[in-house]
């Protein structure tokens, strides 16, 4: 499978990465190079093979459903580029 330039624009959109028009063609070439190379996986017969979900047999451990953290709005927002009264600030989302 290979991707065309429209697909690359769509992937960029889904990835939330602004892509300049002049970057589309080289990126298409790079992605197709990688996709052509991973194509060899198709020759592997995986009939009846389950996908690997855990590399070491282990049960996911359960913990008590209790609050263990919180009340630290200053810490949560201290690295944000823009905040106001303990909230993150973003451009207007709704009219």
């Amino acid at each position: 499978m290979s991707v065309d330039q429209d697909t690359v624009r769509r992937i960029a959109k889904l990835s939330r990465i602004a892509i300049k028009e002049e970057q589309v063609e080289p990126m298409t070439g790079e992605l197709n190079g990688i996709l052509a190379w991973v194509e060899q996986l198709r020759e592997v017969n995986t009939d009846g093979v389950p996908p690997l979900t855990s590399v070491v047999e282990a049960k996911l451990s359960m913990r008590e459903d209790v609050i263990t953290d919180g009340g630290i709005p200053k810490d949560v927002t201290r690295n944000a580029p823009e905040t106001e009264d303990g909230f993150f600030v973003v451009p207007k989302v709704m009219e």
Binding site: A18, V38, L41, T46
Partner: protein, 491 residues
């Protein structure tokens, strides 16, 4: 003070306890080396004041006879680990200025055991790279150069700053992370030891995530014993990482008995790849001879799905990365570029904040996970992973550990492979299988090329059997007598 920095971590530990020198002396000696060696670009953040304060604390413990396992040992930390209130960037512009309000479990474990923090080490952006050239903060230079050459070489990656700092003796040990070979490959091309433990041995909590089912923290140091000492402190169950294993941490140092008599070492024919440089093959043969001479039994094993590990990795890792890196949105932390609406703010922030390799991988990952392609790519890759793991499971019926080269070649020049992503990816061809199967592996310096550049041998072990790796690794180290040192040109 240069003799202080020449010592191994174990010698430092003994010298501190014998009060031959203080933790403060040791920290100062390393800070001097660090400051004099900035041309290597190994450190992104130097934490000199923190180091001296921690060293003074260690000296109190040493004085009071309450020394902890790593008391007073100065360490470098890969910039993927969050250290509280110390800038953590993961080598990325998008995290520039980020200062975590929390501590990663692995570093917390190290400080709890008395280690001293010297600073944060350069790396490929988000650990995506095999040469440290994708760092937003510039490439790290390998302390090693080809004989008679002034050309700068890469230190491998992604833990390139860690490897260079250890090889140049700016630190006796450093933390690294290994998603496809990012500890072992740089260790090999800088002539040091690196260990990727079993997946789940070390907590991933507080480590900037790349590919969560593959990422694993481990040590880089100049000897096998030093790595054993570090790993003992780094490892352990952590309730904050659901994939961290609830198992006891063995005394890895005690596992180094020097005796491999009767141990069965597997040699997989699939690792003899096309165009393998003769020097790599020769080193591999040498490793086999060393272990034979030490009384180990060499057995041929077959790992038929080896060739599919790297392409499968380049589906699984970007897929998980595209999901993990969704958090960098210009809202909660890091770089923000203006946009007319929220979507444009995301798009502009991520376009400006991510480097080219990261963008490419996020896009590959997004594509293989997108509707209609998930089964063909991601699911197939995860099934191939099961087959790779089964290959190893079958091999363990006839052997106790597997010996291979660590890399397909020595360190290369900065810029030499930067234009071709696939050629760069091939650096991890021998290391990536251990990540895909979750198995532990170690790289030990084995010898040098005719140009005088170091090469490594890799041992892959059974799940949770790092002890055998340390045991066999110690024997290889003893046999190899790797005493070569880079000429000091960087200070």
């Amino acid at each position: 003070m240069s003799q202080l920095t020449d010592m191994t971590l174990a010698q430092m530990r003994d010298g501190l306890r014998a009060k031959t020198f203080s933790a403060h002396d040791l920290a100062e000696a390393h800070l001097t080396e660090m400051e004099a060696s900035r041309i290597l670009n190994a450190f992104l953040v130097e934490t000199g004041d923190k180091a001296l304060a921690m060293a003074r604390e260690s000296d109190k413990h040493l004085e009071a006879g309450t020394a902890r396992p790593l008391e007073g040992i100065p360490l470098g930390i890969k910039d993927l680990f969050c250290v509280k209130d110390v800038p953590t960037t993961a080598g990325s512009h998008i995290l520039e200025g980020f200062s975590p309000p929390y501590e990663s479990t692995v570093t917390q474990n190290l400080w709890h055991d008395g280690a001293v923090c010297l600073g944060k080490l350069n790396m490929d952006e988000f650990a995506m790279g095999s040469s440290n050239e994708t760092s937003y903060f510039g490439p790290v230079k390998n302390p090693w150069r080809r004989a008679g050459s002034n050309q700068d070489l890469v230190p491998g990656g992604s833990s390139g700053g860690s490897a260079a700092a250890v090889a140049a003796k700016l630190v006796p040990g450093a933390t690294g992370t290994d998603t496809g070979g990012s500890i072992r490959q740089p260790a090999a091309v800088t002539g040091i030891v690196g260990v990727k433990p079993t997946y789940g041995r070390c907590s991933r909590w507080g480590v900037v995530a790349f590919a969560s089912s593959l990422d694993q923290a481990g040590p880089l140091a100049r000897t096998v014993q030093d790595c054993a000492i570090m790993l003992k402190s780094m490892a352990g169950h952590d309730p904050k990482d659901s994939t961290s294993l609830k198992v006891d941490v063995p005394d890895f140092e005690a596992a180094m008995t020097g005796d491999v008599k009767g141990l069965r070492i597997g040699v997989p024919k699939e690792y003899r790849v096309d165009n393998m440089p003769e020097e790599i093959d020769a080193l591999w043969q040498q490793g086999i001879e060393w272990l034979k001479a030490a009384g180990a039994e060499i057995v041929d094993v077959t790992l038929p799905h080896t060739k599919y590990a790297l392409p499968a990795y380049y589906i699984v890792a970007p897929a998980e990365a595209s999901s993990n890196l969704a958090r960098y949105d210009g809202v909660r932390y890091g770089l923000r570029e203006a946009g007319t609406d929220i979507t444009e703010l995301y798009e502009n922030s991520r376009a400006a904040g991510f480097g080219h390799e990261v963008q490419r991988r996020v896009m590959i990952g997004t594509y293989v996970l997108s509707a209609g392609y998930y089964d063909a790519y991601y699911l197939q890759a995860q099934k191939v992973r099961t087959l790779i793991k089964r290959d190893f499971d079958e091999a363990w019926a006839t052997c106790d550990a597997i010996l291979t080269p660590t890399t397909p070649g020595p360190a290369f020049a900065i810029g030499e492979k930067a234009d071709d992503p696939l050629e760069m990816y091939l650096n991890d061809i021998f290391t990536v299988t251990a990540n895909m199967s979750g198995l532990p592996a170690i790289s030990i310096p084995g010898g040098v090329t005719k140009d005088g550049l170091p090469l490594g041998l890799q041992l892959i072990g059974k799940a949770l059997d790092e002890e055998t790796l340390f045991r066999v690794g110690g024997v290889i180290e003893e046999a190899a007598q790797f005493t070569a040192q880079p000429d000091v040109w960087w200070r």
